[in-house]
């Protein structure tokens, strides 16, 4: 008995977490998947009816907006955050004397809750008293900057706030990547007389391909999950112009009482995330085993 315990302690220690993950992650995903195939409304029903919820979902104009927004928001957010992050990292890599302080300033938004970020930008961008009013106060009477309340532009305010929050983090990732490139290769290039910008484009940036991938994965993951920022900044409005799948799902689950729609939209979100993350994780785990 004691010997059995001794031999199986590692397994016993792992068991609670293993069971928890099986139930609360995989079991719950299965539950949501199941319910997304039923006619559940206010209460879950368990008779499978096929894909009616998905049909309803893709027939819904609100979902169409939310899903479309995800791609507009996601693309702009990821591309701009990566470009900005890389640019800042390269600028900071030039022997800047105050690097530590500047890095701290660029990165601090990542420590804040998206609710705080949203609240701050909501105030800054509000047309009545914020930026617009300020510039008009300077004498530019016709200046307008009312994206926050413009259904066609409001989504860009979310992009702006999200970039403000996350680009410093991308910079930190890239900076770490720049510093990890083998110094001897760079020295060799310098001895060969290759100009600095060529050293970056031809040697350093290609060597950082894994970091680009990581940054992309993290940012796309953030984009699909972003919920707090929309709630705090626009509340999904005006109307539902800035809805994202995350807010759509929440509205269906907790204010509309439409469990079927909530479940099916959650499943679509998961499919989007997994179509990005699974190949990445799979290759990561495989390269580790091999």
């Amino acid at each position: 008995m004691i010997k059995w315990l001794e031999e199986n302690t590692p397994k016993l220690v792992l068991a609670p977490s293993f069971i928890a993950v099986l139930i609360f992650v995989y079991g719950f995903i299965a539950w949501t998947a199941w319910v997304s195939l039923t006619r559940s409304r206010l209460l879950p029903k368990y008779e499978i009816e096929g894909f009616i919820q998905y049909e309803r979902l893709f027939a819904s104009p609100r979902w169409e907006t939310a899903f479309g927004n995800l791609f507009v928001f996601g693309t702009l957010f990821i591309v701009i955050a990566m470009v900005l992050g890389l640019a800042l990292a390269i600028l900071l890599d030039q022997n800047i004397r105050t690097e530590g302080a500047i890095r701290t300033i660029y990165l601090y938004p990542m420590a804040l809750s998206m609710i705080v970020t949203g609240t701050a930008w909501k105030w800054i961008l509000n047309p009545g008293l914020g930026l617009e009013a300020m510039v008009r106060g300077w004498g530019f009477e016709n200046f307008t900057f009312d994206w926050l309340v413009d259904p066609d532009k409001a989504i860009y305010t979310i992009v702006l706030a999200a970039i403000w929050q996350s680009s410093g983090f991308v910079m930190a990732l890239f900076l770490a990547g720049l510093r990890s490139v083998d110094g001897e290769i760079i020295k060799a290039a310098q001895v060969d007389g290759i100009p600095t910008w060529r050293v970056y484009t031809a040697i350093i940036i290609p060597a950082m391909a894994p970091i680009f991938l990581s940054a992309f994965i993290v940012l796309s993951h953030l984009a699909v999950k972003s919920f707090d920022l929309v709630i705090a900044l626009t509340g999904g409005g005006p109307g539902y112009a800035t809805d994202l799948p995350a807010t759509y799902m929440y509205a269906m689950a907790f204010s509309r009482g439409d469990i079927g729609q909530a479940a099916s939209s959650a499943m679509i979100m998961m499919l989007v995330v997994f179509s990005i993350v699974v190949p990445y994780l799979y290759s990561e785990l495989r390269s580790k085993d091999g």
Partner: protein
């Protein structure tokens, strides 16, 4: 770090002034970006110190003429979140009550899990780790509905223990990942030597691994604390009037439709809600960054 300025030394003569100008442009550019990142914090702070009157008549980025802490007092103990008008104070303490146990428990479990996966490899340990890793990446929306029902079934719906439970469960993936990646870099010969010395599973963990773990514990605690303190989705989904965390309360204050909009109070409340994680960042920034990069760069 690589000194790339070396590469430019060949063309000296006309290069000197050119380089100086470039250098200045570089610093100015960096400064402009610093302003971009600092602006919202600055605006929040100045707005919170102004009276409503001054906000209405003044400039967004102007410094307050008369500094007043009235808005802070209101935000802390009087502002209304829906029908309740006690400020963010009770919710701030809710967040503390949720975050501390959740951070401690998930870190401890993560340390044990990471130790097993990294050092006591057995058939199935890798499967466990892969399952955990995939679990880190699910959008939580996919577990909201069943979790709400399960919390109801076990009588934890709308309670603080319920929220602690949720944060522990969905924090485990990352804490396990952190510790596993840290422990996997410790040579397995150390475990073998301790086994030959006669130490068992817990003894090895306690005497050898735990004393080595301070850096990763700091990273994990900071990561978990930031995640849990800043959480909104679980807070808004699984809490009720008395148990909401501070992020939910902040959102309620900002979006409460009753009365006139008190922007200064909103900003003060936002700063209060952001202060703990901001402090952590300022005090232990190095570890904060390490957690961010470790959590995302390497699986």
């Amino acid at each position: 770090m690589v000194d790339l300025s070396l590469a430019q030394t060949p063309h000296q003569a006309e290069g000197r002034t050119g380089r100086l100008i470039l250098r200045w442009m570089l610093y100015i550019l960096l400064l402009l970006f610093a302003l971009f990142y600092l602006l919202p914090l600055f605006v929040m702070l100045t707005t919170s110190l102004k009276s409503l009157e001054e906000i209405r008549t003044g400039d967004l980025i102007a410094l307050p003429r008369d500094v007043t802490f009235a808005a802070w007092r209101t935000a802390w103990s009087e502002a209304c979140t829906g029908i309740q008008c006690e400020g963010v104070r009770p919710f701030f303490w809710n967040s503390v009550l949720i975050a501390i146990p959740a951070v401690v428990i998930s870190t401890l479990l993560g340390a044990m899990n990471g130790y097993v996966v990294a050092q006591w490899n057995f058939r199935g340990a890798n499967l466990f780790f892969s399952l955990m890793l995939f679990g880190c990446f699910i959008p939580f929306q996919v577990v909201l509905l069943p979790m709400a029902r399960v919390l109801g079934l076990i009588g934890m719906a709308g309670t603080i223990p319920g929220l602690i439970f949720v944060h522990v469960i969905y924090g485990l993936g990352f804490t396990t990942l952190f510790f596993r990646n840290y422990y996997v870099s410790i040579p397995s010969e150390l475990t073998k030597a301790a086994k030959v010395d006669g130490a068992g599973f817990f003894r090895i963990f306690w005497s050898i691994f735990l004393p080595l773990s301070l850096p990763i514990i700091v990273v994990t605690v900071i990561w978990q604390f930031t995640q849990i303190w800043n959480d909104f989705l679980f807070g808004v989904s699984f809490s009720q009037a008395g148990t909401q965390p501070v992020t939910v309360a902040l959102n309620n204050i900002v979006n409460s439709t009753t009365g006139i909009k008190a922007y200064n109070v909103d900003m003060a409340a936002a700063i209060i809600a952001g202060l703990p994680t901001l402090l952590v960042y300022v005090i232990a920034g190095k570890y904060f960054v390490r957690g961010l990069t470790a959590g995302s760069v390497k699986g």
